[in-house]
């Protein structure tokens, strides 16, 4: 079953050659270090949900009534892009992806804290809510919890073997 999952990932990303090369760099025995095994799968699921939520919300708001709250809608769109990118890197896996995702999670946390504080300090700048308003209260604080969990999960470099052990 585990092998099947790995094969599917390799096929859908269409990078069979690169996969093998990266697996070598990761020190794994011909297997790319998966970032989505064990707790990582829960993480990628929540990131996927936030991606769909933030992306569909910002597209709808920008298309239907951008003039009402341009700043809020633009910030939601930025959040959507961040979520798309982190979800993609997590699914892709490998050591480079881990480092990139780690940096993005840190940026995401900075973004949530900045926008969250901004919406509290200067509510008049936001006629409508963003995904990160009030530290993501409209999304039961998942936006502030996700990057912290993500950084904990991605903190250590791993080989395929240690990832399997963690799962």
């Amino acid at each position: 079953m585990e092998e099947d999952g790995t094969d599917v990932t390799a096929q859908t990303t269409g990078q069979g050659g690169k996969t093998a090369r990266q697996a070598g760099a990761d020190g794994g025995p011909g297997k790319k270090a998966r970032l989505v095994s064990g707790p990582g799968l829960v993480l990628v699921w929540l990131y996927g949900v936030m991606t769909v939520g933030a992306a569909s919300r910002s597209v709808y708001q920008i298309v239907s009534d951008y003039g009402r709250a341009p700043l809020a809608y633009s910030l939601s769109a930025v959040a959507a892009v961040v979520y798309v990118f982190i979800t993609y890197t997590l699914v892709r896996g490998g050591e480079t992806a881990r480092k990139v995702a780690l940096v993005c999670c840190a940026l995401e946390l900075v973004g949530v804290l900045t926008v969250g504080t901004w919406t509290l300090v200067d509510p008049s700048a936001f006629p409508d809510a963003t995904v990160w308003s009030d530290y993501g209260m409209g999304y039961i604080f998942i936006p502030v919890a996700l990057p912290v969990t993500g950084m904990l999960w991605l903190r250590k470099p791993r080989t395929a073997a240690s990832a399997a052990a963690a799962a």
């Binding site: 079953m1 099947d4 095994s37 799968l41 829960v42 699921w45 569909s56 239907s64």
Partner: protein, 119 residues
């Protein structure tokens, strides 16, 4: 009609979340019975989508507009099956956690749907 279905889907989603959360607590992956449970919840969400289409086609207008209404209905139908497929690739307790999280996500979508429909 739609409100009753919304309540039913919410209850079923939370029950599924609790059930799979319990499986995760006992360090077990999702099993056949869990997948039957997921199917039941998904069918309920599908019935809700069809009911929504029938009601809007019959002339009723959701409070927040039909675009958002249908976006949430489609999201509600997809959330549990996607979580279920993900749990198939992860035959550990974490697969169960994903489905439990999927149930919670569906419940949140239903609460939003209630507001979108009724105001």
């Amino acid at each position: 009609m739609l409100v009753a279905l919304t309540i039913a889907v919410t209850a079923a989603a939370l029950a599924l979340a609790a059930w799979c959360g319990y499986a995760a607590y006992r360090d077990q992956p999702t099993k056949d019975w869990h997948f039957i449970g997921m199917a039941v919840v998904s069918v309920l969400a599908l019935v809700q989508l069809v009911a929504g289409i029938v009601l809007v086609a019959g002339g009723q207008e959701p409070h927040d507009g039909s675009v958002i209404f249908f976006a949430y209905l489609v999201g509600a139908v997809l959330s549990v099956p996607i979580a279920g497929f993900m749990s198939l690739t992860e035959r550990t307790r974490w697969g169960s956690v994903v489905v439990a999280a999927g149930g919670v996500v569906l419940a949140v979508l239903e609460v939003r749907l209630y507001a979108i429909w009724g105001g």
